[in-house]
């Protein structure tokens, strides 16, 4: 290991609920007191002393340009994860009736086309430092893809668990890296419970269980990058999907840390969250003014965010309330329309979670909950090619023609009249 004491900017773990402190090992809950989640504790004075905008800009074009803010000791596993495009989405903005909209497109994150590559890069780096040779996870699909791929790159053994009914692309996109893949006959929450029991008896590093405090820190980089890509400024409002609620709260932590160490001027950012109606325990609690989650059984096409018992749900509700944001849910039909809208206006093909985010963005604009002039960032966390089942029925068919001009002319005529009909119904 190439680490030196001076390169370590974190000190240990602390319970988010009761403040009890632990060493920086493989544990995720406050086992001595209250079972609250553990978070990494940093030495922000040390980070402030060594980090400037220039030092970050001179770093690698990946999440590791923010290495000082991430809980690792030595060399990272760098598979080029992060620094994905922040698109100014003018056409989508116009369609929605707002002015300053950006899309943070993690659907083209590396290596497996979802934001999970960020968290897994951090988790597996830490897993290696803690001496694990086998890594594992409970996954709704994207995390399985990412864990299997990055484990392959790092030469670690890998066994991952998914619900058996996942989309074909997500199953193939895991198997190709040749891990041991367990398809569990049950929903994600049941998979997760099983994995907790496996974690109890097998000495494996589960990225979202005993490595969770390190893993979840990777999501902060979605906050850092947006600040840097907006020219070292905070946005006014962000919209992100909510599954466990972890990503949402870590984007906020990323913003807060850059303020704390003086990299960006303080500003209030509103946080709004998106859920699918078929799995919306956080949106339901928010709507009813509750600060606790009543678990639900998921039934939605948005499988990647179908977590019925979201561990960070209470924190997500608190964040939306504190910042003047909102949490809303949309139907499966609205999700599909959201996927189409983003593709047709911005050339970005997202999966169902992204469709959920765009549909909720649209809903919040219609409800007047997004100021048309505020700088709004919508987080797109996954790639549409992984969930083609969701849209295959609505994308239409190609015009099959003979290799002759007459055949093309006739087909073009038909296509034009079809398009006119569509324009009339949409009203651009």
């Amino acid at each position: 290991m190439t680490s030196t004491l001076a390169s370590v900017t974190f000190k240990g773990l602390r319970c988010k609920e009761c403040g009890h402190e632990y060493g920086a090992g493989a544990r995720h809950v406050c086992e001595d007191v209250c079972f609250g989640p553990l978070e990494v504790v940093y030495d922000y004075d040390a980070i402030r002393a060594r980090t400037t905008r220039a030092s970050i800009e001179a770093g690698p074009v990946s999440i590791w340009r923010y290495r000082d803010f991430l809980p690792i000791e030595g060399d990272p596993i760098d598979v080029g994860t992060g620094f994905t495009p922040l698109l100014k989405a003018n056409r989508l903005a116009r369609r929605l009736g707002i002015k300053n909209l950006y899309i943070k497109n993690d659907g083209v994150n590396m290596p497996t086309l979802s934001f999970k590559d960020r968290v897994v890069s951090v988790a597996l780096t830490r897993a290696r430092e803690l001496g694990f040779s086998t890594v594992s996870c409970a996954s709704t699909g994207n995390l399985a893809n990412s864990t299997a791929a990055i484990a392959a790159h790092a030469g670690m053994d890998c066994c991952v668990f998914i619900p058996a009914d996942l989309e074909a692309g997500k199953i193939l996109g895991t198997l190709i890296y040749n891990p041991t893949l367990m398809a569990v006959k049950g929903n994600y929450d049941q998979v997760n419970r099983l994995c907790c029991e496996v974690a109890n008896t097998y000495g494996w590093g589960f990225v979202n269980i005993n490595l969770r405090p390190y893993y979840s820190e990777g999501s902060k980089t979605l906050g850092y990058e947006v600040i840097e890509q907006l020219g070292w400024q905070l946005p006014d409002h962000i919209v992100a999907p909510l599954a466990s609620g972890s990503l949402f709260t870590k984007i906020s932590k990323g913003f807060d840390e850059f303020i704390k160490v003086g990299l960006v001027d303080e500003k209030k950012v509103r946080f709004s969250g998106a859920q699918a109606e078929g799995c919306s325990p956080i949106a339901q609690a928010f709507a009813e003014g509750r600060d606790f989650i009543t678990p639900v059984k998921p039934n939605t096409i948005a499988k990647s965010i179908a977590i019925g018992n979201p561990a960070d749900g209470p924190y997500a509700i608190d964040l939306a309330n504190r910042t003047g944001g909102s949490i809303a849910a949309v139907t499966d039909d609205e999700i599909i329309a959201g996927i189409q809208l983003l593709a047709e206006t911005e050339g970005v093909f997202t999966e169902t979670a992204g469709g959920t985010t765009i549909a909720v963005l649209k809903k919040l604009v219609e409800q007047g909950k997004i100021d048309p002039s505020e700088t709004t960032v919508a987080y797109i966390t996954g790639n549409g090619l992984k969930t083609t089942e969701a849209v295959s029925a609505v994308v239409g068919e190609p015009h099959t023609i003979e290799p002759q001009l007459a055949s093309f002319n006739a087909a073009w005529e038909r296509a034009q009249s079809l398009q006119r009909a569509t324009w009339e119904s949409v009203g651009v």
Binding site: H28, G36, S139, C196, T201, S246, A311
Partner: protein, 91 residues
């Protein structure tokens, strides 16, 4: 009325490293009391000062979350399997 209880690693220090224990109980509430009697101190770890199950702990009876059943008053019968699992993040 013996039920089987799966104990998560962080709590096994109370159960002399046993991952599974068998106890007599006819409801989840009775089980919590029985666990505390058999393994003194464990009750305080499972419940807060008001005697409510800690919000970051999940209880399952035969794989069903007790929040879909009757919470702490959920009835138990002989042969049931109760699993205690700390909440985890996902994706």
């Amino acid at each position: 009325m013996a039920v089987q209880v799966l104990i998560p690693t962080p709590l096994q220090k109370f159960t002399a490293d046993q991952a599974t224990v068998e106890l007599e109980a006819s409801s989840v509430q009775e089980l919590i009391e029985a666990l505390d009697t058999a393994f003194p101190g464990l009750g305080n770890r499972l419940c807060d000062e008001q005697g409510k199950l800690r919000r970051f702990l999940n209880f399952y009876v035969n794989s069903e979350d007790i929040r879909f059943l009757d919470n702490q008053t959920t009835a138990l019968s002989a042969g049931d399997e109760v699993s205690i699992v700390p909440a985890v993040a996902g994706g």
